[in-house]
């Protein structure tokens, strides 16, 4: 293209916008077509995963699990039991890997950190006014700092949906930035709570906002409302993560959580991940499952694949 010579004689009026702001005003988040998205997710759900690929997927799902307990009734005893399970998911089978992390409330971080020291299993803590994210910001930031001081390696916060849904994107963005600062070296996962966002366009927008604000992971759901992770919702977030990586070079992880109970559902998520973000994302550094009941189904399916028959539920520990 021919270069346009710069004006030298007339004075150019000063633009109220910076060039960056002007460009930002032209760009909008790529829209998402709900019908096409759900169709694509459903078609990936029909992939037939067998033998070695199934074992690979089941093993990967265990390694990517954040074993979670987020109840008001959580006690040191309960958390200790969950940690033991996280380290050795199947006491009778040493080839089963440990899970990625144990996810608890901040008050129980010290218990988990003590029990998991030296095991390689990370301590994750929800913080920042989970699950609504509507506590005063200073309190939320303090909660994050406290959890990190107590030994949390990873912090799961929620997107401020109140700000996001009322169009105060700047506020939602800045809160994430400040939370990231509060995390220090700890990894930050931002929960979008996609069941509250109302459309896939919003899911995509929230994904982009969280990634741009510094999230290391974007996460589907808190598990505290009826509508949680879906294959199409996860696909939408993964497409956003793929585009963000392409545009900025920064790899952001994806965590799916809430209501995933069966191994089959889990490997469908892995297929979607594999075909959207590619093999580089097939690692606990870039993908996680929020899991509690899912883990035992994974173990049951692994034993079935290896031994050719199902074992009863009493042969897998309930912690």
């Amino acid at each position: 293209m021919a270069k346009v010579p710069a004006e030298t004689h007339t004075k150019v009026p000063e633009s109220p916008w910076s060039p960056q702001a002007a460009e930002a005003a032209m760009v909008r988040v790529t829209p998402v077509d709900a019908v096409g998205l759900e169709e694509r997710a459903a078609s990936l759900g029909t992939r037939s995963i067998k033998r070695e690929s199934k074992l690979f997927a089941l093993d990967l799902a265990v390694r990517c699990a954040d074993l979670t307990t987020l109840e008001g009734a959580d006690t040191p005893g309960k958390v200790t039991a969950v940690c033991s399970k996280a380290v050795r998911p199947d006491p009778t089978d040493s080839t089963i890997p440990s899970v990625a992390a144990v996810c608890v409330y901040p008050a129980l971080v010290p218990v988990a950190a003590e029990r998991l020291r030296g095991t390689g299993v990370k301590v994750a803590s929800v913080a920042g006014g989970f699950p609504s994210g509507l506590a005063p910001l200073d309190e939320r930031l303090d909660e994050i700092r406290q959890a990190v001081r107590w030994g949390a390696d990873e912090i799961d916060i929620v997107l401020n949906r109140s700000a996001f849904l009322s169009g105060r994107y700047h506020q939602a963005f800045e809160e994430i930035t400040r939370s990231k600062e509060a995390c220090g070296t700890a990894h930050l996962k931002v929960i979008l709570e996609i069941g509250e966002l109302g459309s896939y366009d919003q899911v995509r927008k929230a994904s982009m906002l969280a990634m741009a604000a510094g999230a290391d992971f974007i996460k589907t759901s808190t598990g505290k409302i009826a509508s949680s992770a879906t294959h199409a919702g996860a696909l939408c977030m993964m497409e956003a993560a793929r585009d963000f990586h392409r545009q900025t070079g920064r790899a952001v992880g994806v965590k799916v959580a809430g209501g995933i109970r069966k191994a089959k559902e889990a490997w469908i998520y892995l297929v979607i991940l594999h075909e959207t973000l590619g093999p580089d994302w097939l690692t606990p550094d870039r993908f996680r499952f929020g899991a509690s009941t899912l883990l035992n189904d994974l173990l049951m399916q692994i034993r079935k694949e290896r031994e050719g028959r199902y074992q009863g539920p009493d042969y897998f520990t309930v912690d």
Binding site: V35, R47, S48, I49, R51, S53
Partner: protein
């Protein structure tokens, strides 16, 4: 080990491959659908008068599995005498029973056929895949369910014809001669048979010579459904057999789906004979992506539009028009997506792109692709292993394509996409309409008003907005210009099989 078994093993080993599969530990293990459910006879006669009969021609020809080049069976080649017998039989069945049978009685047989198609869906899907090379995923999820849906849909019309065309009283025409292509063998048989039977016509159907087996399995279903003998007759053979069917003097109505060249020959042949004619011919559809489209779903639509069924689709979106401002992101996504397409064993449930239907078709695709390279377009193909035997072609796209290139004008009928760009809606429209064809088109935009503006100006029989290649028995399908005339599907699909009397009751 017997040779056949060894071949089978070898074929299984050559699991579907994609560029993605080659760089990941998560390469899906092969997941083949068992072919044991299907029993293929050594030989098939002609289906005339409700029975399989030896051809008077005394000639037979082989049909093969394009994924292995293995001969599956021998099929009778119908000569002029055989076609004459089939047509006379159909004529007699029409005059003696079918014409005067009440609609609800005709529907009864059609519902039986539809239910049997569902009952035996796996068998039909596997056979369709073995004989034609299409992925089992498609024959299982698209071809067979849609074929059954067509019979169900038109069975519902059979007893309501008197109310379908207010002011006009419909009457059946007589014997329909129907010639169908090899890209959707069973589904095209259903598209042709269902409306003909619902309206009280009898049929002589000629399946394509490379894919006769599912039509012959359908003949078995028709026998089991106890359809009066002679109402449906199926004669196998190549172009000459088809020509004998459409020119037979006792055939009152001709319906053809296939290439534009053959369509022109047929139209010349029946001119002046008084035969009713519908033609569903080739296409070179424009798939138009605007800058405000949902790009990821548009990419899915583009892939589905051109790589579905190896591109052997008359309404395939073979010309992609992308607004220049989003050309790069669309192309980048498209190339990445192509790398995830799994090409190989059509019986593997994870295969996305199967075998090219015949050696002849493969040659044609290769020849046109070569012309694209020679004319200066830039070719892109993902790296994936192709099986050693059988007919295969990598998913291909061309950029830098001009309207004047052969790959932008001629129907390739293969997995080959030509990518062009545009700047304004007017330019997109002008280029999209600048083709001798006019079967289908696609428009991708989030702006409703633009969808309406485009769709009312595109000269194509079927236009999809924010989706592609969606079919439903209640929706009419057919073309403009060299893509043919007449509609199949829906209420419109009844009309070509009917003649009308003035209705004295009409006010």
């Amino acid at each position: 080990m017997p040779e056949r078994e060894r071949d089978e093993l070898e074929r299984r080993k050559a699991a579907a491959s994609s560029a993605l599969a080659e760089r990941t530990p998560f390469a899906y293990a092969s997941a083949p659908e068992s072919s044991e459910i299907v029993r293929i006879e050594d030989r098939y006669g002609l289906f005339i008068g409700g029975e399989f009969v030896e051809p008077k021609s005394g000639r037979w020809f082989g049909t093969l599995n394009p994924a292995t080049e293995e001969v599956l069976s021998e099929v009778a080649e119908a000569g002029p005498e055989d076609v004459d017998l089939a047509v006379t039989t159909a004529r007699a069945a029409w005059e003696e029973s079918w014409r005067d049978l009440p609609g609800r009685e005709r529907a009864k047989y059609m519902y039986r056929i539809a239910r049997q198609l569902q009952e035996r869906s796996r068998e039909f899907a596997v056979l369709e895949t073995i004989d034609g090379g299409k992925p089992i995923k498609e024959s299982r999820d698209v071809d067979v369910p849609l074929a059954a849906a067509h019979f169900f849909y038109y069975a519902g019309w059979a007893d309501k014809l008197d109310y379908a065309f207010p002011g006009r009283l419909p009457r059946p025409i007589g014997v329909a001669g129907q010639v169908i292509p090899w890209n959707f063998p069973l589904l095209m048989a259903a598209w042709k048979l269902a409306p003909a039977l619902a309206t009280g016509n009898t049929v002589v159907l000629k399946p394509a010579e490379t894919t006769p087996l599912t039509a012959l399995l359908l003949a078995e279903v028709i026998q089991e459904a106890d359809l009066p003998p002679g109402v449906v007759n199926i004669v196998t053979g190549a172009g000459e057999t088809g020509s004998n069917v459409v020119t037979h003097e006792a055939v009152d109505k001709v319906a053809f789906t296939g290439s534009t060249d053959v369509g022109k020959i047929i139209q010349r042949a029946v001119a002046g004979t008084g035969k009713h004619l519908t033609l569903e011919l080739g296409g070179k559809a424009a798939n138009i992506v605007f800058e405000d489209a949902a790009l990821d779903q548009a990419v899915e639509g583009i892939v589905n539009g051109i790589y579905f069924n190896q591109g052997h689709v008359c309404c395939a979106g073979s010309r992609l028009f992308v607004q220049e401002s989003v050309f790069e992101p669309v192309l980048e996504r498209l190339k990445e997506r192509l790398a995830t397409l799994r090409v190989g064993d059509p019986l593997d449930k994870n295969t996305d792109v199967g075998a090219i239907n015949s050696k002849q078709q493969l040659r044609k695709i290769e020849e046109l692709v070569e012309s694209g390279v020679e004319e200066g377009a830039e070719i892109y193909q993902p790296a994936c292993d192709l099986p050693a035997r059988g007919y295969w072609f990598r998913p291909t796209l061309f950029t830098g394509v001009a309207q004047s290139h052969r790959i932008a004008r001629e129907e390739i009928f293969g997995p080959v996409l030509s990518v062009l760009t545009f700047r304004t809606p007017e330019e997109a429209l002008e280029k999209a309409n600048n083709t001798p064809y006019g079967l289908s088109a696609g428009v991708w935009t989030e702006k409703g008003s633009r969808i309406l503006w485009m769709t009312s100006r595109l000269r194509a029989g079927v236009i999809w907005a924010n989706t592609f290649n969606r079919f439903d028995p209640s929706s009419p399908f057919g073309g403009y210009k060299e893509s043919g005339f007449g509609r199949e599907g829906g209420l419109h699909g009844l009309e070509p099989y009917l003649e009308f009397e003035e209705d004295g009751r009409a006010g």
